[in-house]
């Protein structure tokens, strides 16, 4: 196989390699070996994604025809700036986190189940990358379910028996969401006879007014379906428990990637399919989205303030941050979308760091209840330094990645002539200040608790991913070519297609 071949087949390799990795891991019995295989696979992913991004930036969108069948008949993998960006995000964050997994998973999961854990992890990764790369709406459903089913298993592997309840709850809601999605796609299929996203969009474009009704119904189904997956307030109820009781690494991985991919799908459906075909403004769908986003930004943040379990606190924070992302989306202008996409990126980095810190806390102190963590910041100085940095990123202080997101979102709101929204954006970050500040107070200024007494910074292979993500939080607060630069290009492409 020549070098050219490899480059040509990168889109399929992006999905095939983790899939094969998952299969091979399933044959293994020893956790460490499984980790090794999963790690190698995971580390390959950003290489492929990076190459794809470069290629896309250079030569424009890539279309890869599975089985050699051209779209719209066959399944098409389609990589444009947005999808390459999300691919790189998902794979890079996973790759950075991977070293953390070995000890954390070995600590939290029984020996004979570890290989199974990595199988599910790789399967989930496959699903997430697949959703992002495919240009086929039904194929996206399949990948969605691959990632979801493996996620349910990952969550159920948590140590607490409540993990089972969380998994069950998510299974119910996630399945309803996915079914709504596939109903929406089914309606579009009934109307257009096509499943290829680009093809659907072009066919919808020629729809007459009386055909709008099923299209609007389809849009409603898709919106609800994906909203469930991305935990858009008030469809978020599955998320706090899922994040709280899943194994720490799974939580970090999911928080950093899964909802992001759901957002990606949202963007695709809204901007690449419907936005191209019909005028979304007329449907007032964005007004609803805006209202929900604002509710998420405030209510979920406030819930986070009252949460005593730190994983749940961060989970509520995630719901709030998803609100930011959909907020920018609802603005539907260049700056707003850029904010949305760049926050997708930044939040992945930030939340990844925060959840890894909690993973390290579980590893060292055995609890993530706030009451147990007095003085832990002094006992785990580097870990909590990372927590503070990432926390600042969550609040959106300048010099962190979070600020860049808020900057664009605020500009987007102003561009729309909605300057009061600017205040709502910043006001909700104040709530983040409260819940992060609360942790900082306890961790640094409260008397050392029993659990914290024996704690110390985790081993290097756990610490380095944490520090790397914290450093990235700062790096992407200053150097944004990779984050905001790419996001802006992606937003431009999405906005450019709008009707």
């Amino acid at each position: 196989m020549t070098r050219i071949d490899v480059i040509q087949h990168l889109p399929s390799l992006q999905v095939v390699i983790p899939l094969l990795g998952a299969v091979l891991t399933a044959f293994l019995r020893r956790g460490t070996l499984a980790w090794g295989l999963a790690a190698v696979v995971t580390w390959l992913m950003p290489v492929i994604a990076g190459a794809l991004l470069l290629q896309v930036l250079q030569d424009g969108p890539i279309s890869y025809h599975l089985g050699g069948w051209p779209p719209p008949w066959g399944i098409e993998y389609r990589v444009d700036v947005l999808s390459a960006f999300v691919l790189l995000l998902v794979s890079a964050v996973s790759a950075v986190m991977m070293p953390f997994a070995r000890r954390s998973v070995a600590f939290e999961i029984e020996g004979d189940k570890q290989a199974w854990f990595y199988t599910m992890y790789l399967l989930c990764l496959t699903g997430l990358l697949g959703i992002t790369i495919t240009g086929d709406a039904f194929n996206a459903f399949v990948f969605l379910e691959i990632s979801s089913l493996s996620t349910y298993v990952l969550i159920a592997m948590g140590r607490d028996r409540r993990a089972l309840l969380a998994s069950y709850q998510y299974l119910i809601m996630g399945t309803i969401g996915a079914t709504f999605y596939v109903i929406g796609i089914g309606l579009l299929y009934l109307v257009t006879g096509s499943l290829n996203m680009v093809d659907i969009a072009s066919r919808l474009g020629s729809a007459s007014v009386e055909q709008f009704q099923p299209i609007v119904v389809a849009l409603a189904f898709l919106t609800v379906g994906i909203s469930l997956k991305l935990a858009l307030f008030p469809l978020h109820v599955w998320l706090p428990n899922a994040y709280a009781y899943a194994p720490s690494f799974a939580t970090a991985f999911l928080a950093a990637t899964a909802t992001k991919v759901a957002v990606y799908l949202f963007l695709r459906i809204f901007f690449s399919i419907f936005g191209v075909a019909i005028s979304l403004d007329a449907l007032r769908v964005f007004d609803v989205l805006l209202a929900l986003s604002l509710s998420a930004m405030f209510l979920a943040s406030i819930l986070a303030v009252y949460e005593q379990n730190l994983k749940r606190m961060l989970a509520y924070s995630s719901v709030a941050q998803i609100g930011y992302i959909t907020f920018g989306l609802s603005l539907a202008n260049q700056n707003g979308l850029t904010g949305s996409i760049v926050h997708l990126f930044n939040h992945a980095v930030i939340k990844g760091a925060l959840f890894l810190v909690l993973g390290a806390v579980v590893y060292r102190a055995g609890s993530v209840k706030l009451a147990d963590l007095g003085g832990i910041g002094r006992k785990m100085p580097l870990t909590f330094a990372a927590f503070v940095v990432a926390g600042l990123g969550l609040i959106g202080t300048p010099g962190t990645a979070g600020f860049i997101s808020k900057w664009y979102l605020a500009l987007g709101a102003l561009d729309k002539g909605q300057w009061p929204l600017v205040f709502l954006i910043v006001a909700s970050s104040l709530v983040a200040l409260i819940y992060i500040g609360r942790v900082v107070e306890v961790a640094y200024f409260h008397p050392t608790s029993e659990a914290a007494e024996k704690a110390s910074d985790p081993p290097l292979n756990m610490l380095l991913p944490i520090l790397a993500l914290a450093a990235a939080t700062i790096y992407f607060g200053f150097f944004t070519e990779l984050s905001a630069g790419a996001a802006s290009k992606a937003a431009q492409a999405l906005i450019g297609g709008l009707k």
Partner: protein, 138 residues
């Protein structure tokens, strides 16, 4: 009388036809609605039916647990590997046309292999799940 007569005779009579029907579905997958998945479900159904009537231990003697669990990733490996074979032979992923001397035969072979993989995985999964359930409460 150890076994319920009616169940035993009914199931004994039915089982060979169930398996044959599974194989029929397997081989006619690309012609009508069907294929590896249904075949796998039906095959597993056969094992389950056998286990219900003759006991799980008897079923495990015929289809040992280790084998069943091994079948799950094996099947995935077969169908994913078939797709990769297309890749390795210079075509796109899932392009089976290069698997044989001419494209139609290659595709036929590819589909056959994929369906086989699906059959193995699905029947393995379903049977493994059944075994897992039957162990609970013991």
């Amino acid at each position: 009388m150890k076994l319920d007569l009616i169940l035993r005779i009914g199931v004994k009579f039915l089982l060979p036809f169930v398996l044959l029907f599974a194989l029929y579905v397997q081989f006619h997958g690309e012609l009508g609605p069907g294929g590896g998945f249904q075949a796998g479900v039906i095959t597993a159904g056969m094992v389950i039916l056998y286990a219900i009537i003759f006991g799980v231990d008897a079923a495990k003697r015929i289809a040992p647990q280790r084998m069943v669990e091994f079948m799950v990733p094996l099947g995935v490996l077969i169908f994913a590997g078939t797709g990769v074979a297309g890749l390795l032979l210079g075509k796109n992923f899932l392009d089976y046309s290069v698997l044989a001397h001419d494209a139609p035969h290659g595709r036929e072979l590819g589909i056959f292999l994929v369906e086989l993989g699906v059959l193995i995985t699905v029947s393995g999964t379903m049977t493994a799940l059944f075994y897992a359930f039957s162990e609970r409460g013991r």
